[in-house]
């Protein structure tokens, strides 16, 4: 079953800004789906329409088969939303915020309190339950919004840049939590600017730019379209040899610093040849890493490709 089905969705804001241009999008039940795009691409508008915070201009939206136009109440019950900006009452306590949210979904107060304890403990906020939200750190506020979105136990969780401004350690723990709840059966749609986040967590991806979906595929399939990767190798040259004297034959390479080189490897070439060449010259490879996030390279390429025809049109 499809968790989300969008057909011909358009949004024109007052003033004529066309944020979405008849997009189609499907997200399967149980998926961990990334919706990527540069700022102003239409991600938040799409999410806003699904969550009924923004009125659509045209098109059809269905969540687990429930139609936005005709079955809004049932549709809303399926969704938990973690918005980009903090949108809770800063003067309410952590517990009040999550229990009230459950109440808006018809969850009785006693049950809401039980669930509040469960989710606040899972997200490390239980000790802060009686503190006003304004006293929480940025990371805690992000986790509070996740707890709030989960309290009515939605089947689809939409996260709009949930780890923005969160430190690496906390981000990793939030990834772990999101993977856990996805394994438990909650479908997740994630928008993020951290592309390594999408690469690590998500199975499928849609890239949106200028109100149009320019790519919609699995992350794996998308990554196979990457033709070239740049690797950074920390090396130790043979005794008496200079790093600049290394010969890597067909590979383009350059010296990054005194101990590192950057090697461009085409998909058809393979890495083995690089190691063979280095080994022949007595060069020891100490460590190796990708120069840039692979998805990031693809993302930039796709967005640039998508903009080229439009720029030509504008110029003519």
């Amino acid at each position: 079953m499809k968790a989300l089905s969008i057909r011909g969705l358009s949004k024109v804001y007052k003033g004529g800004v066309e944020a979405l241009k008849s997009i189609d999008l499907d997200v399967e039940e149980g998926d961990f789906f990334a919706l990527l795009g540069p700022n102003g691409a239409g991600k938040s508008t799409t999410i806003g329409i699904i969550a009924s915070l923004i009125n659509k201009t045209e098109g059809e939206v269905k969540v687990f088969g429930y139609d936005l136009d005709t079955q809004l109440v049932e549709l809303k019950r399926q969704i938990g939303l973690v918005p980009q900006e903090f949108n809770f009452n800063q003067f309410e306590t952590v517990r009040q915020i999550v229990v009230n949210q459950a109440g808006y979904y018809g969850v009785h107060r006693s049950l809401a309190n039980e669930r509040a304890e469960k989710y606040l403990k899972q997200l490390g906020l239980w000790d802060k339950r009686n503190e006003p939200a304004r006293s929480l750190s940025g990371g805690m506020k992000r986790r509070l919004m996740i707890a709030r979105a989960l309290l009515h136990q939605p089947k689809l969780l939409i996260l709009d840049e949930p780890t923005a401004g969160v430190d690496i350690e906390l981000r990793r723990s939030m990834w772990g939590y999101l993977e856990d709840i996805n394994r438990e059966g909650i479908t997740i749609i994630l928008t993020t600017h951290y592309l390594e986040e999408a690469e690590s967590l998500c199975r499928n991806v849609a890239i949106i730019d200028n109100g149009v979906i320019i790519k919609n595929t699995s992350i794996k399939r998308l990554l196979t379209t990457l033709n070239m990767e740049t690797f950074v190798l920390d090396i130790e040259p043979a005794e008496g040899e200079e790093l600049g004297e290394i010969d890597l034959g067909e590979f383009n390479w350059r010296q990054a610093d005194e101990q590192s080189i950057e090697v461009d490897v085409q998909k058809s070439q393979g890495l083995n040849k690089v190691f063979e060449q280095l080994s022949k010259q007595g060069v020891k490879v100490l460590s190796m890493r990708n120069k840039a996030n692979r998805l990031e390279e693809l993302f930039v390429d796709l967005v640039e490709q998508g903009r080229q025809p439009k720029q030509k049109q504008t110029g003519s």
Binding site: Y13, G48, A51, S52, L53, I54, N55, L72, V73, E74, K76, R77, I79, L81, P83, E85, N87, F88, N89, Q90, F91, E92, Q96, N100, Q101, G103, Y104, Y105, G106, V107, H108, R109, R148, H152
Partner: protein, 258 residues
Amino acid sequence: MASSFNLVALQTIWIKECTRFLRIWIQTLVPPAITMTLYFVIFGSIVGERIGEMGGRPYMEFIVPGLIMMSVITNSYSNVASSFFSAKFQRNIEEMLVAPVSTTVIIIGYIGGGLARALIVAVIVTLVSFLFVDNVQIHNAGILVLTVVLTSTLFSLAGLINGIHAKTFDDISIVPTFILTPLTYLGGVFFSISLLPGIWSTVAQANPVLYMVNAFRYGFLGISDVALSTSLSVIIGFNIVFFALAYILLERGVGIRS
């Protein structure tokens, strides 16, 4: 199922609203007590003694219902206007908008908050009045309660409409300053409209607050410048119009949805 869900949602909004004004009780409950004490001292004790009787009652007794009603009006209005606008401003109104809460439940929830604050303030002001009036007798408790409930409902709705339209904090103070205060002061709180000369007496009848003050005064003292049935009809009529207006605005997402 649906009614149980709506009741839980309504209870949640009501508790949230009551918690809000009780949390800031120094801003919400204390000022009316102080302001009304000053009114009783100045208009009742000092000026009132020179005025003597009005409507066949000592002036102090005459102004008690009007002052209570004035507190009810301003508190129910400002409670909902500021609460709704703050929710819009902080964007926590989205908590309700993403949830399957019906527009009717949202409206009744906010009215419930305004009504609760208005009733608490009404009790506080009534208790303050006991310090100044020796013999407070209630003519008809049913009319008294009905008028307070209908009036605070009406001004909660008015506050909600103001909160929906407001774009800045200034916008929620304009209406109380330029419309509500003049209407209240000219609505028969401090005088009987029978004292107004010819045309002004007719003009005064266009003021809806006049009907609320007089219905409440009837419940309190058994005297009124306007027939009770007329007063209640006007208040109920305004309630229906304002509820419909608030409903339409929220359904269309005015001020809350792009």
